[in-house]
Subunit: 239 residues, 2 copies
Amino acid sequence: MDNLIKDFQVNCENCSLDAICLPRGLSRQEVEELSDVVKNDAVLQRGEYIYHQGDVFKGIMAIKSGSAKLVTNDDRGNEHILNVLLPGELIGFDGLNQNKHNCSAIALEVMGFCEIPADMFDDLCLKVPGIARELFKHSSETLNESQDLIVSSKRAAEEKLAMFLMSLSDRLKNRGFSPLAFNLPLTRQEMGDHLGLTLETVSRMLQQLQNNGLIEVQKKQIKIKDLQGLRNIYFSKTN
Amino acid sequence: MDNLIKDFQVNCENCSLDAICLPRGLSRQEVEELSDVVKNDAVLQRGEYIYHQGDVFKGIMAIKSGSAKLVTNDDRGNEHILNVLLPGELIGFDGLNQNKHNCSAIALEVMGFCEIPADMFDDLCLKVPGIARELFKHSSETLNESQDLIVSSKRAAEEKLAMFLMSLSDRLKNRGFSPLAFNLPLTRQEMGDHLGLTLETVSRMLQQLQNNGLIEVQKKQIKIKDLQGLRNIYFSKTN
DNA sequence: CGTATTATTGACTCCATTCAAAGATAGTGG
DNA sequence: CCACTATCTTTGAATGGAGTCAATAATACG
C-alpha cells in the first residue's frame, strides 16, 4: 500500500477519539490490528440511514463526527428515539442477537463513521485478545444508557428535559466540547420522541427552564446557566 | 473428583435449559469446557440478592429455576424494575462497563442460578471460540428487551399491562411452561414499578382486561382467555 | 388469633395531551 | 432579492387519563 496515501488516512492509530472509542483499552499492537479491519471513509447527510431496522447485521459502527439517532417505528407511525449518539460512541449491538438490526440508525447532521464489518466481527474477537472485552464494555454502556432512559420515563416532563440536557452536557464534555453551550441536533418533535413527550410540552418545558434561570434557549442553541440547578431538578426532589 | 457425586450434579451438559441458555450455539466440546468453569449450586429465597448495585462485577449468571428482578433505586426511594428474568435468561451484563454492577438482581421466589465468575470471564472468551459470540447475543437480547420497555413506556396503562402479560406468556411458552395460565411472580406494586404505573392503576387495568373478557385474574393467578385480543390492544390501535 | 402485607375500589386533582392558531425560519425558484 | 412553500416553534384553552388520598377487604404469616 502506498505510504503517501496511508499517511493522509485517518485510522484508529491516529484518530483523535481513541481515548473514548474502541481503542481506549487496547495495547498499541492491538490497535494496529483493529485498524486493519476498520473501514473509515463513510460520510452521511442528515436523514440518511446507517442501517435500517430489519437489515441483516451490518457490523459495529463508531461515530467519528456529527451525531445520529437510533430509531424504532411502531405500527401507529410513531417514532421512538432509543438513543442519541455522539462521536466516539458505538452502535450496532442491537443486531447481534438475531443477526438482524432491531432498530434503524439515522444521521442527525453531517456525520462520519467507521465500521467493523459483520464478517470481520468473530474473527477480530479471536485474533485480538482485548477487543471482545472492550466491545462488551461498550455494549454494557449502551445497556446502562437504556436503563437510565427507562428510569427517566417515569419522571415529570421538566425532569426529563433536565436529565436529557445534563446527559448531553456530560457527554460533550468527555469529548472535549463545551459542556455549557451547544446546539441540539434534534427538533422539538424528536426530543419528544426520545423522552416520551409531545413537541408542545418540550417547547413549554424548555421555556420553563429558561424562565427559572437554568438555561438560555434560542431555537436549537442551548446555554446552560446553572448546571447544578439542572442537576437538582432531576435529583433530590425527594421531599 | 468422585464420579458418583458428579453424576448427581446438574451441569451445562445435562441441563434441561441448554437450548435457551448459553449452550444453545455451542458445540459439544465447547459446552464441556463451559461446564467446567460454571458454578451451579446456588439457591436463593424471595427477596435475597444475587448482586447489589455498586458491587464489583461478579460474573454472568443464568437463572436455572424461579425468577428474579433487576432493580435500580432512585434517590426518592422509588424502585425501578428494569427487567423480570425467567429460567434460561442471563444477567450481569450491566457490570461489564465499569466493572461494577449498575443495578441489583433480586430473587422473586425460590430461585436457582449458575454463574460464570468474573475472574473466569476473559479467560473463557479466549479459550472457547463460540462463547464470546453467544454472550454477545444474550447481551444484545437484553438490550433489545430494554428497548421494548422504552417503547412501552409511552403507551397507555392498559396497553402496558397487555404487553407485559404477552411478553411473559411468550417467554414461558419458549421455556415449555403453559403460555395461557401462570402465576405472576410480582406484586401489583412491583408491576407498577416495572411499567411506570401506580399499584392502584395496575389493579384497575387488570380488572378492566378481565371485564373485557381478555384474561381471568385472581390475585397472582392469570389465565389468558383471548391472546389475540391482548395483542390487538398493544398493536394496531392505529385508527 | 392478631398483625402486616397486599389488593380493591371510589372520589378528586393535576399534569401532559390535544386541538387550534399564529409566528419564525430555511430553502427554492423566478 | 423577494415571494412562496414547507418545516419547525411557540403559545393558549380545554380535555382526559393516571396519580393521589382514603377507606375497606383479602391474604399471609408468626
